[in-house]
Amino acid sequence: MSCMAKKVKIYSTPYCTYCKLAKNFFTKNSVAFTEVDVSEDEKELNSMVKKSGQMGVPVIEIDDKVIVGYNEAKIKKLLGLK
């Protein structure tokens, strides 16, 4: 289970549908992840903008790789899921 070792983090806001989709995807595939609500945490928001070069949510971090938006194919690839 190679994906177990990867560090997964999602930057989200409360009403963002794609964030919900991404979180559902992680739950369905038993991927452990941490979540930060950037509407509540300005420091995390600034770090998200700096890392991704844009202001939209979700931003998903898998180890040191950054994915902007909900891109299932990219997530699967980085997690080594089929």
Partner: protein, 314 residues
């Protein structure tokens, strides 16, 4: 591989169609760029029977779960082209190519864009089409909202609690919003109304820095420094990619009959993309069911008949 039905769109219309198609054991694929479409942006929906109050995102997620449990496959991709190949249809999406025996068009309406310089360049870099999603990112910042309807005023009222300063920029001198929305917006101290003005250009470096607007009467321009721009100028149907296959009305909506069939055998349509005047999620869901059942009969080569379909399948 050929699917029995390809459904384009994953709002109430497309997802209901998927549920009905799967219950008829049709091999079903949903292609959509997002989940929920317009309703996903609604923080609370209070007119969908069975749910006194539910967020649009949660409602469509429930529909999606139900469709997937019944066997629907889903890919999140945009559509590039739709063509007829013999009796089948071929859908070229952003990542893959998919073949189906029947097609249900249920991708509703798309947010209208401004069409000014800088809009595309700064999309996601300060320009947003979803206030409920992205407004929280603009805490203590300056934000312009473009539009004059309920959604623009809603965004402004919501934004006034988060952002430092809000500008509502509207091309007319009056709003086509509900009185109560307007009253609430006027009460907020940090909302400035800029009327009779249209956007001309969005400027910035890496992110949005300012918005240039023009007064429609005096033609004078003004450069407003902003961090965020929310486009709330309504929705439009985008049917150009299927215009060679199905008949459209003068608003470019797909013309359907009372079985949700289009002018093209094998293509069905449901929801806001059709010429049905009531743009409501429950109407869209109902049409999704009709479209799926019509597609089923088309695939069976039979006429629609009354058939009982509820409860657990045995």
């Amino acid at each position: 591989m050929i699917y029995d039905i390809i459904i384009i769109g994953a709002g109430p219309a497309g997802l209901t169609a998927a549920i009905y198609a799967c219950r008829r054991e049709l091999k079903t694929l949903i292609i959509s760029k997002d989940l929920g479409g317009q309703i996903a942006k609604a923080p609370d929906v209070r007119n969908f029977p069975g749910f006194e109050e539910i967020s649009g995102a949660e409602l469509t997620q429930k529909m999606m779960d139900q469709a997937q449990k019944l066997g629907a496959e889903v890919v999140f991709e945009g559509i590039k082209s739709v063509t007829k190949e013999g009796k089948n249809f071929e859908v070229q999406a952003s990542a893959g190519k998919y073949k189906g025996k029947a097609l249900i068009l249920a991708y509703g309406k798309t947010p209208r864009s401004l069409g000014v310089d800088g809009e595309e360049k700064f999309a996601g870099k300060g320009v947003s089409y979803c206030a409920t999603c992205d407004m929280p990112v603009f805490r203590n910042k300056t934000v312009a909202i473009l539009g004059g309807g309920n959604s623009a005023l809603d965004a402004a009222i919501y934004g006034s609690k988060i952002a430092k300063q809000i500008y509502i920029i509207h091309r007319r001198d009056e709003f086509r919003a509900d009185e109560i929305e307007l009253k609430n917006a006027k009460k907020a101290k940090n909302i400035e109304f800029v009327l009779n003005s249209i956007p001309k250009e969005i400027k910035g470096d890496k992110f949005v820095k300012s918005l240039i607007i023009e007064d429609v009467n005096t033609k004078k321009t003004r450069d407003i420094p902003v961090d965020g721009i929310f486009v709330e100028i309504g929705y439009e149907v985008k049917t150009d990619i299927v215009a060679h296959l199905v008949k459209l009305d003068e608003l470019k909506q797909i013309i359907i009959d009372n079985t949700c069939s289009t002018s093209q055998p094998g293509i069905f349509a449901a929801g806001d993309i059709t010429n049905t005047p009531m743009k409501q999620s429950i109407v869209a869901a109902g049409e999704g069911a009709k479209a799926a059942l019509s597609a089923y009969h088309y695939l069976q080569g039979s006429k629609p008949t009354v058939m009982v379909d509820w409860g657990k399948k045995t």
